[in-house]
């Protein structure tokens, strides 16, 4: 089992390669979209690089719960309902949703994922 530090280094390498960012920009708290400038197509590349680097399979819905965010059962007036939040927590136990819960606008979800979240996710797969 690689250590948390080793996981972070490998994730950092994948992000530097996929996003063309500097190594020192990839901090644990950096958000993938807002801070590192990841666009939707970059995630395809990032997921592929992580799968190769860690020899794991990453089912898309585990990282991107689009089905929950577009389900009228879990979304009301552009915001995720408490039931939706519970569903998200079940699906993404490795993500820190505390900030999102304060104002759970669906449109903000895309910018939630941080480098630390991604590392926690990878660790949960190892």
């Amino acid at each position: 089992m690689p250590t948390t530090e080793e996981v972070f280094e490998k994730v950092k390498e994948a992000l530097v390669d996929a996003l063309g960012v500097e190594e020192d920009e990839v901090t644990p708290d950096a958000t993938m979209v807002g801070d590192l400038g990841a666009e939707s197509i970059d995630f395809l590349d990032i997921v592929f690089k992580l799968e190769k680097a860690f020899d794991i399979k990453i089912p898309r819905e585990e990282l991107f719960p689009d089905d929950i965010l577009t389900n009228s059962q879990y979304v009301d007036n552009g915001k995720v309902t408490p039931e939706g939040i519970a569903e998200l927590k079940k699906r993404l136990p490795w993500a820190d949703l505390s900030k999102f819960e304060d104002n759970p606008r669906v449109q903000d979800f895309g910018n939630l994922l941080t480098v630390k979240d991604l590392c926690s996710y990878v660790e949960s797969k190892l």
């Binding site: 390669d17 197509i41 970059d42 395809l44 592929f48 898309r60």
Partner: protein, 179 residues
Amino acid sequence: MRWFWIDRFEKFVSGVEAVAIKNVTFSDEPLDGYFPGYPHYPHSLIIEGMAQTGGILLSEPGEFKQKVVLAKVGKAEFHRPATPGDRLRLTARLVNLQPDGAIVDGTVDVDGQVQAELNLTFAILDDSFGKEPFFVPSDFCRVLRSLRLFEVGVHPDGSPISVPPHMLEAERAALAASD
């Protein structure tokens, strides 16, 4: 201006690998204008040729019905210029295929020497980008035939690939309309 930057397929294994040839000639218009006095084939067009090779490779299993665009050039390293008389051999390998995109690794060689190494990410667009195909199916089918895709194309088990039925239908309709 014609926008085909490969001349023909030399090898095509459905969903796996495609090899296309591009003969660089002084009569290619972009050659001399790009860098007067030092004619060489622009690297950007080599990337485009690989995108065409890879794009056809990844859209063939779905009968060319998907809208595929080059979304990102992850890597483009050129080791030497391509000059008139060179025969570029573009090899595209499909390394990852998802419902919304794909990744292709590409190598270009000239006489066995590596000329370029590429990594391309493609997006497969959904219907929010419009329902109409990018290319008129009958025209696109003619291009694929001209590139000898259906002459060299095989499935991984060695059996030949065939022209998708909807393209044959479109060809028949286009022929009937021109009578």
